[in-house]
Subunit: 427 residues, 2 copies
């Protein structure tokens, strides 16, 4: 059974907001065995929303929309759906009670605009938005046909938190109940490799890939100097997938980092947790991004203890204890400095490992010797300190057009990969 | 003149990758006066790509596609465009020369798969992808009609860095040259308010908003406890916009944070730069995210000096100097602890200001006294230290279903807003 998503909002079409809702919803739909066929983003424009709905229902059985459900004048989705389904807005006691409860301690919010939130299209099924005031509305098209053949439209709020809670608690269970047979087999297996170009990897895999059964599909997803390989299955043939997956892992074993779609910081964290060891960071050019990655997941306090973001040289000196003469003679972006930073952080925080970064993130600050993208990195371990220099500022061409954000993202990837490799060698 | 974007890739439809390209492209198009009508994401599926192209050309004059241009078997866009335009792939000397130059120091990458990158559809215009091997391809539809009336399709790589460089250096200049009259007036003005509910704000603005001329459109964008208000104009009437914009600022002045669409960290940074003052942070629950925000923009080293991410209590004690008895008696999430953390960071880094955060980011670790989302914050200043407790873990309903990521994002917003307010009071 096919599904489509329509995200509604001018802010998406002028680039003021990135649509993160669709990817989150796509993951949840795939987990439930629902194929997402298309994502469409349209303006808050009645005519265009209607056209997008018509096109989507030509292809799909389930259409989910997000956005346009606020109490303000620019939000028109509820009105448009009313017209689309030839119905009218009526007060819902259920929604009124919920909204009054929601704002019981905030009488200022219980105003006449908020009261419009409990008006709903007469023929929709209201699904409770537990954490917000905009009702989630489910519609059944072609109701004259048998229920199972009918198409469904569900309108969700665009606020990510409200959409997420609504999907998990209401929309997915409702769909499963309404369309018990809709799920099909969907399985994705992803592994991560590094240290090889995409085209070279494809040549290694060519013979195997050409012989893959039709039910399996291989995808290459390069990012920050690594490549994710995904094997997808849309048929009831898990044993075929298992078999080919094992063959794939064997073919790429020289480059394999991890055979799951798992962030590198979690791979590292689980290795540390298994050993009962801890880590800290000393960051200049990555500026706290490594720290933020390392504590992004619940439970990280068992192995991540802290960081010093030493942006200014005075902090490298006074907090991390990098000697003034090292900074003077070798500069902040140097092997000597990152070694001192890593060892300083390790001593200061009493952790088993420490990662240090110092580089030129740009766009200014580059020199002929150390152009934008030059990043020194050190890994302090109980067995000594390792250091390496990376050049992350250029595309394949050597042209220095990589953004500050991309350089720091690549540096974080290198920093995590480096320590994972060191830990595997120690093992 | 209308434009549409089609992003191509299975990874978008299974939620493995968030489409950030479209928002970036939308901003650039708007800056050039090109209205983006729709964004469509489809699978790497020939039939579906063709259907999306047909639908897009029914509505728009310019269609930009991203993705599916790699050298591997899963990328099919070039082949599909060949069929769509009834043409065939031919070798391009221009692309071959570029790709050979690109990989001159990487002979392993110059393999037979990479060589397929210099095959291009016979009737397309090749625009150089300076930082990658996949050529950017421009097509003109209905070439028999006059050039200005003809429609254009441009196929770009999906790798964000390659797409961005290609858009700036090749695609936008090519479009401007081909369609010199396509630009129209597009103007967006955005301001940020805080401390008021969306519906209450809408009531304050109601009379003014109802009297707005038809050429202006007001949008409400709530996020992390703040609301962005955007006034958009799609006609040649800048003086009307100016006039209404001034009225809007006056109406919201009690809640106005900043009258530009500028990140809070930049607002704060510019205030500090103007005063010649500096800042550092001491972060527990925000875990380096505040640091990363404060140094996200080039030039921040003038006012941002460093941070201590004190995730483990030992770091709070040993590095920031929080007394053991404060941690024992009051706990890590307490007014006393954040005050000591902020003052410790300020002393350690010798900055004028320091922000400290300590809270329960969840999903575990909450207690009846300090449920998930409880965040204490302190701002150390030359005039003394301020502290405040926030409850960021619940939706409007008080239900504690807000994610770890959302709690830390809200905490960063509160931390920056807090210091901006303090600095304005001091002024």
């Amino acid at each position: 059974m096919n599904c489509e998503i329509i995200t509604i909002g001018d802010e998406l079409l002028i680039g003021q907001v990135v649509d993160t809702n669709s990817a989150w919803m796509a993951q949840r739909l795939n987990e439930r065995g629902i194929v997402l066929k298309q994502i469409t983003s349209v303006h808050d424009d009645a005519e265009h929303i209607v056209a997008a709905l018509d096109e989507a229902f030509n292809r799909a059985d389930i259409v989910l929309t997000t956005g346009g459900l606020g109490p303000t004048k620019d939000d028109i989705t509820k009105k448009v759906l009313c017209d689309y389904f030839h119905t009218r807005l009526v007060p819902s006691k259920q929604v009124e009670k919920h909204v009054r409860e929601l704002y019981k301690n905030r009488p200022d919010v219980l105003n006449r605009l908020t009261a419009t939130q409990w008006l709903v299209p007469e023929n929709c099924t209201v699904l409770t938005n537990r954490v917000g005031s905009a009702p989630i509305m489910a519609f059944t098209l072609n109701a004259k046909r048998s229920t199972l053949n009918a198409k469904r439209l569900i309108s969700l709020p665009g606020v990510p938190h409200e959409m997420q809670v609504g999907m998990q608690e209401q929309v997915l269970p409702w769909l499963m109940e309404q369309l018990p047979d809709m799920a099909q087999t969907i399985a994705h297996r992803t592994l991560l490799v590094s240290g090889i170009a995409e085209s070279s990897l494809a040549i290694i895999l060519e013979k195997w890939e050409n012989a893959l059964p039709d039910c399996l599909h291989l995808a290459y997803l390069p990012k920050d100097g690594t490549i994710r390989l995904r094997l997808s299955l849309y048929e009831d043939a898990i044993d075929v997938l298992d078999d080919q997956w094992n063959q794939l892992k064997e073919l790429v074993q020289d480059y394999l980092v991890v055979d799951e779609d798992k962030p590198l910081e979690l791979v590292l964290g689980q290795m540390l947790l298994a050993k009962g060891q801890t880590i800290s960071t000393a960051e200049s050019c990555t500026g706290g991004r490594l720290a933020a990655l390392l504590n992004a997941h619940s439970g990280s306090s068992a192995w991540y203890w802290g960081s010093v973001v030493a942006y200014d040289n005075s902090v490298k000196q006074n907090v991390l204890g990098v000697p003034a003469e090292v900074l003077e003679v070798h500069g902040a972006v140097s092997e000597q400095t990152v070694r001192c930073m890593a060892e300083g952080a390790r001593n200061l925080t009493h952790t088993d490992y420490a990662i240090a970064t110092s580089g030129v993130a740009g766009p200014t600050g580059g020199t002929p010797d150390k152009p934008v993208g030059t990043v020194w990195m050190a890994w302090a371990t109980p067995d000594g300190t390792y250091a390496e220099c990376f050049h992350l500022g250029s595309g394949a061409s050597g042209a220095s057009s990589v953004s500050r954000e991309q350089i720091t993202a690549r540096a974080c990837t290198k920093a995590l990969l480096g320590l994972i490799r060191i830990l595997r060698k120690i093992d």
